[in-house]
Symmetry: C2
Subunit: 210 residues, 2 copies
């Protein structure tokens, strides 16, 4: 039996099959929603038998949890790349822009995020996984904001308020991209996020890209 967790002894074929299955879950959720996603349609999309899903992930819940973990991992890899930026303001800019990267900010991925958020209120497991990732991301943002505020002592600058406002705007743009009839493109959304940053930090507006 192969463990679901990051297991170093995972063979190459097994890893590939698991990746294919998780990809099938993403597709299934995009097509049918979480409540319409069954082992049968995931197996069909992955072109494997139902048995193999349970063999690799133990249960349907385990399969969903692993899918959520990989979704979060991919998201984290995106924003953590921004942390190498030495300048605090540019680090904030990069953190925000990472939320609108093509790999993160597309129809299928957003559908997955909102599917899990929709269930998270009732499913403590999903809630816990989401909450942990959210904390990490928020701490990175507030650290950047704190560093930024320190670089201009003259100004009144509340890092927590700044971070909250930035994150709220990003989340709101995600929601609009997800549900909006007037389909908001990720480029437009990113522009609005940047415009919001310029409003928050008018003195540094010139240093914030379009």
């Amino acid at each position: 039996m192969t463990a679901v967790q990051t297991d170093r002894s995972l063979s190459r074929t097994s890893a590939r099959t698991q990746a294919r299955i998780v990809e099938a879950v993403v597709e299934a959720v995009a097509q049918h929603g979480i409540s319409g996603t069954t082992l049968a349609n995931v197996a069909a999309l992955a072109e494997v038998s139902q048995g193999v899903l349970i063999f690799h992930f133990k249960s349907k819940e385990g399969l969903f949890a692993e899918t959520l973990r990989r979704l979060i991992d991919e998201y984290q890899q995106g924003w953590q790349a921004a942390l190498t930026e030495p300048d605090a303001l540019q680090r904030i800019v990069k953190l925000v822009r990472s939320d609108f990267a093509a790999a993160i900010c597309n129809r299928k991925t957003l559908a997955l995020w909102f599917a899990f958020w929709g269930e998270a209120a009732a499913q403590p497991l999903y809630n816990a996984i989401c909450a942990e990732s959210e904390i990490h991301r928020y701490e990175a943002m507030i650290a950047a904001c704190r560093a930024f505020c320190e670089t201009n002592k003259g100004e009144t600058c509340d890092p927590a308020l700044l971070a909250h406002s930035i994150d709220a705007m990003t989340d709101g743009l995600w929601l609009q991209m997800h549900i909006s009839a007037k389909s908001l493109s990720r480029h437009d959304a990113r522009s609005m996020a940047m415009a919001h940053l310029r409003l928050l930090l008018p003195k540094w507006a010139d240093a914030i890209p379009q």
Copy 2:
């Protein structure tokens, strides 16, 4: 057979039962999520038999659709009260504040919104119902913004951008209230929405309440 639609000839007992059933759906979704909500647990919460659910709403999907329609109706009644305000800026303020009213902005109701949004990507019916309500609301907001921009011709003022930015911030605050570990209260969220408005309209900051 009693029709589901707003039927003037709906008897008092029937109306009361239907309301009780819809209330049970809200509770069931909050407790188990959409995918965990069954006719059996809704019937148990409403203290009626399963048969009566189908009698009144035809199908499980019909029951969910009616619940969504009532959710939207209640939301609309909230924000449409703001339209009586003659002053454009104060109308914008009231529209925003209506999103943070206790009846709209509470754990159970937010959970319901996000449950439907999570499924909407895959369920054309929910998507259509949500989209229609969203259009109405957006048009009210952009009309208010347009009226506001006209009252101060000297300034550069883009009503569409203004409306989008305001709605995005509200949506983002809703999302944070729903998923956030650091539970954001609706009063704090409302304060942030007002702060965002003051940023957008610095010249009129004094006219925007805390």
